[in-house]
């Protein structure tokens, strides 16, 4: 799986990294139970600071998407295990709310937003198969 970062973007690098790893899991490139590269290896490959990768991994851990196990590193958690935990839906819908609000303010209508939402879900599932 290719990870592509834009160091000059307004989005912090660790957030870009987190988003791409989540997308990699959603599309099935990174399967549950698989280990992510070590912090040092990924930082060296990307030529970024180890703290950046570390911050991203901890963010993923906080979201419950990976678990950081001493010695074996960062492992993608099984979907079932993640979905059994409470609070994920609230967190995600809360994060979605300002984006939808902004979409309405800039003049996108409900139909457009719904269409786009379906197309994104379709995209992510398509790559998997």
């Amino acid at each position: 799986m290719i990870i592509q970062l834009e160091p000059q973007s307004d989005i912090p690098i660790y957030t870009q990294l987190t988003n791409q790893i989540i997308e990699g899991i959603a599309t099935g490139f990174l399967q549950p139970g698989h280990s992510l590269p070590s912090v040092r290896a990924l930082a060296a490959d990307l030529g970024v600071n180890m703290h950046t990768v570390n911050k991203s991994y901890h963010e993923l851990e906080k979201k419950g998407i990976i678990s950081i196990i001493p010695k074996s590193g960062a492992v993608v958690r099984p979907r079932k295990e993640i979905s059994q935990e409470a609070g994920h839906a609230e967190r995600i819908f809360a994060a979605l709310r300002p984006v939808i609000a902004e979409a309405l303010v800039v003049g996108l209508d409900q139909q457009q937003i719904e269409k786009q939402l379906i197309s994104i879900i379709h995209d992510l599932k398509e790559i998997k198969s």
Binding site: I2, L42, D45, V48, M50
Partner: protein, 365 residues
Amino acid sequence: MALTILLITLAFLAMTQTAIPYLVKQTVVFGVSIPEGEAKDDKLAAYKRTYSLLVFSLSALAIVVFWIWTVSGNPAEGQLVLTGTAIQFGIIFLSMALYFYFHGKTAKRKRTEKWGEDLKQVKITDMSARSKDEMLPWYVYLLPIAVTLGVMGYTATQYGALPEQIPTHWGANGKPDAFTAKSPLSVITPLIVLFCMQGMFLGINEATKRSGIKISASRPQASTIRQLTLRKYSSWFMFLVCVLMTMLLAFLQLTTIHEGLADDAVMMILPVVFMLVVLIGSIVFAVKVGTAGHQAGEGPAAQGIRDYDEDDHWKVGLFYFNKNDPSIFVEKRFGVGWTINFANPKGYFLIFGPLLIILLVSYSS
């Protein structure tokens, strides 16, 4: 004999210096990163051509003059070696001077043409590249290290039989020409030096393995092949040098213990064979790495993006300083092989630590 060795090394040096612009990554010209679309620029091609032509013709001229001088003037061996070495430095100095000149010109051309300023700069990595890495594991080095320790042990058992004068240097005729008094330390000094070198090689192998696999955003496939080829062949080449060194030094130690083990012809030819194998090995290495990924790199490159411009981290295009990058070694920008990340102190320890021990041991015995 000395003349043959000198001529071979001079020819080898001239050849490699001439070929460098064509063996490095196509998107780095004289140490300046150039976006994929501009890499085939006519002016840059002319810079490379001029560099190679000048290095080649001036070195060839120096070598021919040197050869005629030795044949007609019949100089003493000391004078011959001195002049040959001076010419080696001359070739290195010439190519460095030309490098700096063209580095400046390339950087200026990039600035005035505003190359890549409208492209989005990205950094990429392939998470699956690490699983394709074919570098040798660290434990293969245990084999030459075991040989060293074995010969050390054998020397200890034969201590009484060793001569009172231990050879420390061998002349071009294969006979020892410098000696030191026998002592428990002096009899194994060469083996301690060998041991340190082996440790250094092992450390470099591991540090290289942990250093980043750098992939180019415009040509991910071709650059992955090149990086993996560079890693694989440098680890093989390093191991080859380590094994050869072990064989040579272990053999010399055995000839010290058992005088007359090898006749003069063998002693004379051995270092030459050693040198030839290393030279041929390095040519194979340079060509393998220099041409790796060329085939995969012929298709269209990714549009609208380019690699993150690291020119600021590369002082004069030669010295890499990046304190964010945990890599200890990175691929050279001008030349085939590796250079150290000067902002990472671990690299200094790895290179200077063993050298310091070697110097200490050599001068204290």
